[in-house]
Amino acid sequence: MAQTTFEEISAADFFYRNRDIAGFTNPSRAIFVAVRELVENSLDAAESHQIPPDIYVRLSYEGEASQDTQIYKLRVEDNGIGVPPRHIPSAFGQILFGSKYKLKQQRGTFGLGGKMAILYGQITTHQPATIVSSTGISKTYMYKLMIDIQRNRPLIVDRRVLINKEMWKGTIVEFTLEGDYFRAMPKILDYFKQTAMVNPYANLTFVDPKGRLYKFTRITKEMPPPPKETLPHPYGVDVELLQRLIQITPYTSMNEFLRFHFHRVGDITARKFLEFSNISPSKNPKKLSHEEIVRLMHMLKRFREFLPPDASCLSPLGEDLLKAGIVKELKPEFVVVHQRKPSTYSGHPFIVEVGIAYGGEIPKKGVFLVYRFANRIPLLYDEANDVSFRVITAMNWRRYRVMPDMPIAILVHICSTKVPYKTVGKEFIADRPEVRKEIANGLREVARQIQHFLSRREHVDRERKRLGVFNKYLPKIAQFSTQLARREKPPDIEKLLASVQKYGAEEA
């Protein structure tokens, strides 16, 4: 008789068996993802306390692993807030443990990436990871850790306490992993360049296995205001969330329930809504039947007077910083950026920021260069599946005199408390109609401005060329005709040239 065994597996074990989900699909992708996850954790660690990030990344060659892969040591240093010593083992040695389970915009969402990288390193090289961190106190803590995969627990191999004279604050993570750097190199360099673009206040340093130094220097210390934690917006709730809230709520009236558990619902809005949905304001939410909860959810979605979620839980880059970042990394001749007003999809607030850059050092490729970002993370893979790419492809650029053979770069940044990624690997954004609409409107706005710029430039160019032609040929015609007519001195063409100039000035 066949017997089915049910066994519970730990989170670490789950991801060990399904590491593809987190992006560790092959040796080149793995090394890219490892770098990316750790850099993002470091950026978050600095930004959350308004510290302009200083991040140092070094990949060093340790030896051959197989025919196509090598062992590398990855070291990432930051100047972030540091990790309190008692949390270090869990923060780096336990999957799904972390500080990122609140509703505010952050790069990471699952608290998974950094640990996955360390886990991947351990699987491929059987070496412990070294973590050094200090929160700016007089001591620095050093841990050597391994992850007990089956139990999802950190194993402390070594632990030291060091004197921190300079009161250094930050975290250093170092571990070995197997990978294929040379295949991953273009993506990794792209990643740094694009990260520098949307984090113009960060210093990024990367030393690759050949000892080559890539440095991205900040041009400002100004940082966007940090995001605030927020309550769920009424449009975004589902029955499950409602039931959970009802379970934990201390409030005994629907009015209070709505006011204190939902984003942007005040007394007036709560009353209007309850009237709209025919629910008594004094009804105890815990007494709602299942049918009533379902109905409540539908009414919440149908009520048109909820204010849109405010952007305080989001941290867009802002037009000035975005522009500065583009100018810094792309060195274009002209750039225009636009930030859309906050919007929501399924109750999750999001803000779209777009930019178009023209000319300068932007190459002519025959296609637009597209830079996609989500919560200040560059998205480098699966471009064709991304909603931004689809919107860009569908747009009628000819209308705006923008042609694919022009040196054009388009940037789309989506920030949200919940970016609608299609995969855990954070590579492309799902095609939600609300998001699509915002991106399209944003692009139209910048397209209009670039059109204005292009037609003005074209006009100036044409004028300059026109004057050039007159300045070149009128004197020649004068000279040749003088010789041909056997006259002494050339005719006075100053008047003619002046009239051309004046004519030109009028037109410009």
């Binding site: 040929y473 015609i477 004068a478 010789q483 041909l484 005719p491």
Partner: protein, 363 residues
């Protein structure tokens, strides 16, 4: 025809050319000096302004004119190129030097004038021809192709260093190049009573070897394919000034037929020019009917040949019964023959038998 009159005619023409060039310069100079954007009017050379003139028996330009104005940005460069070309021609003419179309293209660069390609500089020269009504040979600009002449004709050079020297055109057995020196020379005397123009160099040499010039008392001209303008003008002068009938022998195909036609009636490309055609010249062979009558070895007409025949059928120059008959015959037999095809009857057959019969037939 006294030689004196001819001498003055060549010099007169040179003077007219120089005068025309200077007037063009003055007109432009004055317009500019008065503070105006200079402009030039000239007949339009577009195909809808080209018509066949029955009286002149050549293509001419209609009444439509175009204006090149410096006010127009697109005209500016061609205008400057045109004035430069006029200046260049002026220098050539006054210094009595000659040049080629290729030279024009390169010489411009010394004046920081650029031509995109040879075609562009050729077009500018054609503009200049249209404005002044003289052909480029009158400006001492010659094409690269050269054809040749042989026969009892004595000419007197007018080119520098050779003024007054004379040459008997039988002095070189390969014939004498129809180049700038020859076309600008005066005709002194001849005993010939006809001109025979031949399409191919090989046959031209055969005719000289066989003494055709003596046997038939003729001046032989080799057109080397489609006759260059200088040669067409030269044949016209032989016909007009010496009053000689002209007979043209070509290959027996649509293209050979058209070589004869261009000598007789000129080309649409030269509709802005006069005196390049010889209306009284005769096409003596090889006709399509000759191919049949002489049972010549043939090649089949290919697609291009047939297409050409249909075009010629619609051409106003081909309205005479003889031409129409030959086109029809070509279309019927769908065959063509080269002049050399007569060699099947022996090398001298063409000279001894065919030539006298055809000269008689087309007299």
């Amino acid at each position: 025809m006294g030689p004196k009159k001819h001498k003055s005619s060549i010099l007169e023409r040179k003077k007219e050319v120089l005068k025309g060039l200077q007037n063009l310069g003055s007109s432009i100079y004055d317009q500019m000096d008065q503070g105006n954007f200079p402009s030039i009017d000239m007949p339009s050379r577009s195909t809808d302004n080209i018509a066949y003139d029955e009286q002149l028996r050549q293509f001419i330009l209609g009444d439509r004119r175009v204006r090149r104005s410096v006010r127009n940005l697109r005209h500016l460069k061609p205008f400057a190129q045109l004035v430069w070309a006029a200046l260049f021609s002026n220098e050539l003419s006054s210094q009595r030097k000659t040049s080629t179309l290729r030279d024009v293209y390169y010489s411009a660069q010394a004046y920081e004038m650029t031509f995109k390609d040879q075609q562009e500089s050729n077009n500018i020269i054609t503009d200049l021809e249209t404005i002044l009504g003289f052909s480029r040979e009158d400006f001492n600009i010659f094409p690269e192709e050269r054809s040749a002449v042989f026969g009892d004709l004595t000419i007197e050079y007018t080119v520098p260093g050779y003024e007054g020297k004379t040459l008997d055109l039988t002095s070189h057995p390969d014939g004498v190049l129809i180049g700038p020196a020859l076309t600008s020379s005066e005709f002194v005397r001849t005993s010939a009573d006809k001109v025979i123009a031949i399409e191919k160099g090989g046959l031209f040499t055969r005719f000289i070897e066989e003494n055709v010039h003596k046997k038939y008392n003729s001046i032989l001209v080799c057109t080397a394919g489609q006759a260059p303008r200088a040669t067409r003008h030269f044949i016209r002068r032989l016909s007009e000034e010496l009053n000689l009938p002209v007979y043209v022998f070509t290959d027996g195909d649509p293209w050979g037929m058209h070589i004869a036609m261009v000598i007789i009636s000129g080309s649409a490309n030269a509709a802005h020019l006069r005196e390049l055609n010889t209306p009284d010249a005769k096409w003596s062979g090889v006709w399509a009917t000759d191919i049949v009558n002489y049972k010549l070895p043939t090649d089949p007409l290919d697609e291009m040949d047939m297409k050409r025949l249909y075009e010629l059928q619609k051409d106003p120059r081909y309205k005479d019964p003889l031409w129409r008959r030959e086109i029809k015959t070509f279309m019927k037999i769908k065959k063509k023959a080269e002049q050399e095809a007569f060699s099947r009857y022996g090398l001298t057959y063409i000279v001894d038998e065919y030539l006298p019969r055809k000269l008689e037939e087309t007299k």
